[in-house]
């Protein structure tokens, strides 16, 4: 028998919210119709706290909402100008650290990084472009890895596994030298549905199921109709 959930109370920007003990701030906020932007988070998998776009402030301390459990009486600051600007700067950093050419990217319209840039009204990044030399790994039968666009969120490492639970993706090195690797033999053996899932799991256009690019027309893509986060915000309306 599962343990009864213990209800607790907290606030986000003064809004009274309810949650259950053990939930993270991000989950709890979502259940209360409050959107906290996040890139490395993928529901159902362990949070990684990698991208820090979900940073909130509690009692003067900043913390990642995706890893921090919510507690009774917590007063969370979320949609406040300085935090929003910091999040925007993180998004800008992700853009300048890689080589992101939205106009020709097949993930355009379905890309969470691009969608967040729109939500935050990013025009020109405040940081200089790094133009890193990165490669395209195209030798696989099904999956193409476009390293130029990888934001090292590790969703693929955490969430793409074969039926016998072998990791298809891994990570090499650390920090800015971190690089995602793919076991192309395992990737080629993924059933079609899972190969497409791997593409969806990647928030940007780094993991691509080969030869399906641009099949969804403009107007029907995920973020063509509404900005990212609208689903969360509307759920409680």
């Amino acid at each position: 028998m599962s343990k009864p959930k213990t209800p607790i109370h907290f606030t986000v920007d003064g809004k009274k919210c309810q949650a259950f003990l053990g939930q993270t701030i991000l989950q709890a906020a979502k259940d209360n119709g409050v959107y906290i932007p996040a890139l490395c988070r993928w529901e159902g998998f362990e949070p990684a706290g990698a991208c820090r776009v979900c940073t909130v402030r509690v009692a003067g301390r900043t913390m990642a909402a995706c890893t921090q459990p919510v507690t009774e009486g917590m007063a969370v600051e979320n949609n406040v100008p300085d935090l929003q600007d910091m999040r925007k700067s993180l998004i800008e950093m992700l853009f300048v650290e890689g080589n992101h050419m939205c106009p020709t990217c097949e993930k355009s319209g379905n890309c969470e990084l691009q969608a967040l840039a729109y939500r935050f009204q990013m025009l020109v990044p405040r940081f200089p472009f790094q133009f890193p030399a990165r490669k395209v790994e195209a030798a696989g039968k099904k999956i193409l890895l476009e390293h130029n666009r990888c934001i090292k969120c590790l969703r693929c490492v955490r969430g793409v596994r074969t039926r016998d639970n072998k990791a298809v993706f891994g990570a090499l090195r650390r920090s800015r030298d971190k690089e995602i690797t793919v076991d192309q033999a395992l990737a080629a053996a993924l059933p079609e549905k899972q190969a497409r899932q791997a593409m969806d799991r990647c928030p940007v256009g780094s993991i691509l199921r080969k030869e399906v690019g641009f099949v969804v027309p403009i107007g029907k893509r995920k973020y063509d109709k509404e900005p990212i986060g609208s689903d969360v915000e509307k759920a409680k309306d």
């Binding site: 106009p103 395209v136 195209a138 691509l208 080969k210 690019g213 641009f214 027309p217 403009i218």
Partner: protein, 482 residues
């Protein structure tokens, strides 16, 4: 003292061109050249990209006719995906055609009304401050309104087929990513007023009449300005009909004799060579059978109407018959008649759009076909400014390893140079002073062919006209700008 006149950059021509005219000691023109000063990069930077990305990537070559690049690349990638040109589903082929004729419609409207009409209406000696589209708006409201709406209609067709008015995604290897909904169809067929297809066709027809009337009053200018004999190249449908989307290559000489006929464009390298000249980044294509000196050719509206046997829609065919009769059935070699041909094509595009809108295949759902993959693909279309070649090789990892593009402007490189030379010889030669009107005529000559140097060189932007006068030793004698 020998003098060198530099005209740069050319206004109302997209991109960056420079004209140098060298005079000898007696102020006679000894040499004239149209230089393209930017470097072309697309063929290099598509290398390594996955092949299905090419149609979306390469359309960024151009902001005026991206659909042409999109479709030429898609046709090449169909072949790579194992689908031949006649193997697309009817819905896919017709959607692409609709997109293409929509783009032809908007581009021809833009070219004629916004870019060329000011020259014709105000004359080459008019003040540049009014010899532009704003001048047209101020002096001829009705014409200006139509210009804007004709173009807008073409863009609406592109929006409905490619998802965006500029740089959409519609065509994918082996097909298309959407069909035309009944609502989209009805909006294009019937309104909102005056944006319905019948009004558009009527306006296009009136535009042809407007040009014919202008011609009758300005015969000397229209018939002699930058007129010179040339070969002409275009795609034609198997039965000889005008076709912008698909066909075989045909070329005729200045008298109408066929040089190429029924050539499968996948073999274009057997027939077309590209000469590199040290002074220009833009190559000079030529028909191999005639050699570098004699093999240059025109492409575009004039060439298409010189090459085809008929136009497969009634109103445009009627206009075509008048056009052909004017040169007694022989090819028309008058540069300013390019505008006449362009407007007949505008009318034809409107008629084809209507035919397609009434075709129920556009609401069917078979969008993509796949076949056995191949390593190489060639795709040609007739872009608004002329024949456009896209050729790619793809490696076993699906990455593009080679790309060769011959764009319309490049095909017209030698003709544009000849047109500039005509102006130099006929207008500038023997004169001591360079007037505004002379410079305008250089531009008019280029503009008849192509307002879009950016597509050949891939630069963006437009700058004011600068004129510099050099002596034989390269010393700046004079500088005029506006």
């Amino acid at each position: 003292m020998a003098r060198k006149i530099v005209i740069e950059p050319v206004t109302r021509v997209e991109g960056h061109g420079k004209v140098t005219i060298r005079l000898d000691d007696k102020n006679n023109v000894s040499q004239s050249r149209l230089h393209i000063v930017e470097f072309r990069g697309f063929e290099r930077f598509v290398q390594g990209r996955p092949y299905w990305e090419a149609p979306v990537l390469v359309q960024r070559l151009c902001g005026i006719c991206p659909v042409s690049h999109h479709l030429a690349a898609a046709k090449a990638m169909d072949v790579i995906a194992g689908v031949d040109a006649d193997g697309l589903s009817p819905t896919a082929e017709k959607m692409r055609r609709l997109m293409h004729y929509g783009q032809m419609f908007q581009s021809h409207a833009l070219h004629f009304f916004h870019l060329a009409a000011p020259d014709l209406l105000f004359g080459a000696d008019a003040d540049p401050a009014i010899r532009n589209v704003i001048g047209i708006i101020l002096t001829n409201k009705e014409l200006a309104t139509r210009a804007v709406l004709l173009r807008k209609y073409g863009q609406e067709v592109i929006l409905a087929t490619a998802g965006k008015k500029i740089h959409g995604t519609g065509a994918i290897p082996g097909g298309i990513n959407k069909n035309l909904t009944a609502e989209e169809r009805d909006a294009l067929l019937r309104g909102p007023a005056p944006l319905d297809i019948d009004t558009m066709i009527a306006w296009a027809e009136e535009a042809v009449e407007f040009l014919k009337d202008y011609h009758s009053k300005n015969r000397e200018l229209m018939d002699s300005f930058a007129a010179f004999p040339s070969n002409h190249l275009s795609l034609v449908r198997k039965d000889g009909a005008l076709d912008f989307y698909h066909g075989a290559m045909r070329a005729v000489d200045a008298d109408g004799k066929r040089i190429l006929d029924d050539v499968d464009y996948r073999d274009y390298l057997k027939y077309i060579g590209e000469e590199v000249r040290t002074w220009s980044y833009m190559k000079f294509p030529y028909l191999k059978s005639l050699g570098k000196a004699e093999g240059w050719y025109r492409v575009g509206p004039l060439a298409r109407l010189n090459v085809c046997d008929f136009i497969p829609t009634p109103r445009a065919q009627k206009q075509f018959e008048t056009f052909r009769a004017y040169t007694h059935g022989k090819p028309n070699n008058m540069s300013l008649h390019m505008h006449w041909a362009r407007l007949i094509e505008l009318l034809h595009s409107g008629e084809v759009i209507k035919e397609l809108l009434l075709d129920p295949d556009l609401q069917k759902t078979e969008l993509v076909r796949k076949g056995k993959k191949r390593g190489e693909g060639v795709g040609l279309v007739e872009a608004p400014r002329g024949t456009l070649f896209h050729h790619y090789q793809v490696d076993k990892n699906d990455q593009i390893s080679m790309a060769n593009l011959i764009v319309s402007t490049t095909n017209n490189n030698e003709p544009m140079n000849r047109a500039v030379r005509w102006v130099a010889m006929n207008v500038i030669s023997g004169k001591r002073e360079i007037t505004e009107g002379m410079l305008n005529r250089v531009e008019i000559a280029i503009r008849a062919y192509d307002p879009c140097l950016s597509c050949a060189t891939h630069a963006v932007g437009r700058m004011p006209l600068v004129v510099e006068l050099f002596d034989a030793d390269g010393n700046l004698l004079d500088r005029k700008s506006r």
